[in-house]
């Protein structure tokens, strides 16, 4: 019973960690694809395009430049929509565009770059695609803090619950403890089996936590697989790295050890012998 309690209790912050790890993974992937889209005037000349490209290449903040001519953009759109758009639209409505990846997400630096680009002749509009990533990152940091806070609270709960169980066990073994003390057992000797019990509780609880998390990942991915087939998106819920699972088990065993040590020591000390 105690093992199940530990397992489920540790599951809550661990599941939070799993979610945050996955969200972080997504945010990191998106960060590399973050772009500024520069849409050019419709009647822009080749020289002006070359001049803008040269300006972009000179800028240190620019990591990658991709120029998309309006004709290619138009073809792509038609292919993607899979309909004869050209039949209803008389002329290509899309402009030529530069899509640039940046080295930074620093708002001030990006603003300076946009101000600089805004002054160049031939640029119609500039769109920043990376702002929401910043917001996502802030949300993730808050999420991480919440998980840490929740984990700290639940660790205290576990310390109390395991400690109380061990205290009740010392009462169950009161006679044995008393006799052992009378015939020369040290407190450390008497405490030892209770500490082993605490460690085993932690180990069992940790294994249950891992089992629940692994099962959750399998179930979620099975559900996501169905979504993939419907929407054609490529989302996979990633499992935690193995080292995290090791940390969870070690943490659970450590909690078991600490709470049983404190509880057994206090109970044994309080036990009056040979009345």
């Amino acid at each position: 019973m105690m093992i199940i309690v530990i397992g489920i209790t540790l599951c809550l912050p661990s599941a939070g960690l799993l979610l945050i790890e996955n969200a972080s993974q997504i945010s990191q992937n998106i960060e590399h694809e973050a772009e500024i889209s520069i849409f050019l005037n419709k009647n822009i000349s080749k020289d002006q395009i070359d001049f803008i490209e040269l300006n972009l290449k000179k800028n240190n903040l620019v990591k990658k430049i991709h120029f998309e001519p309006k004709l290619i953009a138009w073809e792509k759109l038609q292919t993607k929509l899979d309909v004869a758009v050209s039949s209803s639209v008389s002329a290509n409505p899309l402009p030529d565009a530069f899509f640039i990846s940046l080295n930074t997400l620093d708002e001030i630096k990006i603003k300076k770059l946009i101000d600089k680009l805004d002054g160049i002749d031939g640029i119609d509009s500039i769109t920043i695609d990376g702002n929401w990533i910043k917001k996502l990152r802030i949300a993730l940091s808050l999420g991480k803090l919440s998980v840490i806070f929740l984990a700290a609270l639940l660790i205290v709960v576990l310390l109390v619950v395991i400690g109380n169980t061990i205290r009740l066990q010392t009462l169950t073994y009161k006679d044995e403890i008393e006799v052992s003390k009378l015939i020369g057992a040290t407190n450390a000797f008497i405490q030892r089996p209770f500490m082993y019990t605490g460690i085993l509780y932690g180990l069992g609880g940790g294994i249950i936590t891992i089992s629940i998390l692994k099962l959750s990942v399998i179930v979620l991915n099975a559900a996501l697989f169905k979504l993939v087939s419907i929407f054609g998106t490529d989302i996979i819920f990633k499992d935690l790295p193995h080292k995290y699972y090791l940390y969870i088990v070690i943490l659970a065993m450590f909690i078991g050890l600490i709470s049983s040590y404190i509880s057994a020591r206090n109970s044994i000390k309080r036990l009056k012998i040979y009345k």
Binding site: D175, S180, L182, I183, G184, A185, T186, N187, I273, Y274
Partner: protein
């Protein structure tokens, strides 16, 4: 071996249980502490085995002052005593063998030595055939013999027994006393608290306690058979 010098013992809010006790127990002696209920016999034994500390005075055991002994040294000291309690203090969820093996477990003795020693101790008290039995199935006398086996298994230099025959009929009481005499014969110091002296042909020392004071000290006495 054990010397009490002006030892007093009292508990908060109660009158002194032991007053100005002076006594000496030599190695290999058989000592009876006698007196009526509440005379302080159990307290005297508790002080002797470091289960309690005196309120004043000093108790010297082999040049070690038990009144000033550190808490962490007490378990090691207790291993040198064989303790037998009036209520046996057996573990009723363990069989006879496991009960006797407990002090050796505490001493971290190997399994082979433990087996050998436990069987020897059970044989000494004539309980070897009942090693697998649970203590609850034994008679009162057998339970007391089992408690003696547990006390002697670690080969202590002193055996301390608190009213070991109090709940036994005459036949069993005599049997138990004979076991103690046999240990004294091989050099073990035996201290027994009792209401009344047994009739036996042995040498012993007696301390008579009356309301916390030793009333009379009888030296080595040889009782006629």
């Amino acid at each position: 071996m054990i010397t009490f010098e002006k030892v007093c013992k009292s508990y908060p809010g109660s009158p002194e249980i032991l007053q100005n006790i002076n006594l000496e127990i030599l190695s290999g002696e058989l000592v009876f502490v006698t007196g009526s209920s509440g005379a302080g016999k159990t307290t005297l034994l508790k002080l002797t085995s470091a289960l309690e500390k005196p309120s004043s005075g000093s108790i010297i055991f082999e040049s070690q002052n038990l009144s000033q002994i550190k808490d962490k040294e007490i378990p090691i000291l207790r291993r040198r005593f064989g303790m037998i309690f009036q209520d046996h203090k057996l573990l009723y969820d363990r069989n006879c063998f496991e009960n006797v093996a407990l002090p050796l477990e505490i001493n971290n003795m190997s399994k082979t030595d433990t087996n050998r020693r436990v069987r020897a101790a059970l044989d000494k008290v004539d309980l070897l055939k009942k090693e697998k039995m649970m203590p609850i199935t034994l008679s009162g006398g057998e339970q007391q013999r089992l408690a003696i086996a547990r006390a002697i298994v670690s080969r202590p230099s002193i055996l301390i027994a608190d009213e070991p025959t109090a709940n036994l009929d005459k036949e069993y009481a005599e049997e138990i006393m004979n076991i103690f005499y046999s240990f004294q014969q091989v050099g073990v110091t035996v201290i027994i608290s009792t209401h009344e002296l047994p009739s036996s042909n042995i040498n012993f020392k007696r301390f008579q306690l009356n309301e916390g004071s030793i009333q009379n000290l009888i030296g080595h006495v040889h009782l006629p058979s």
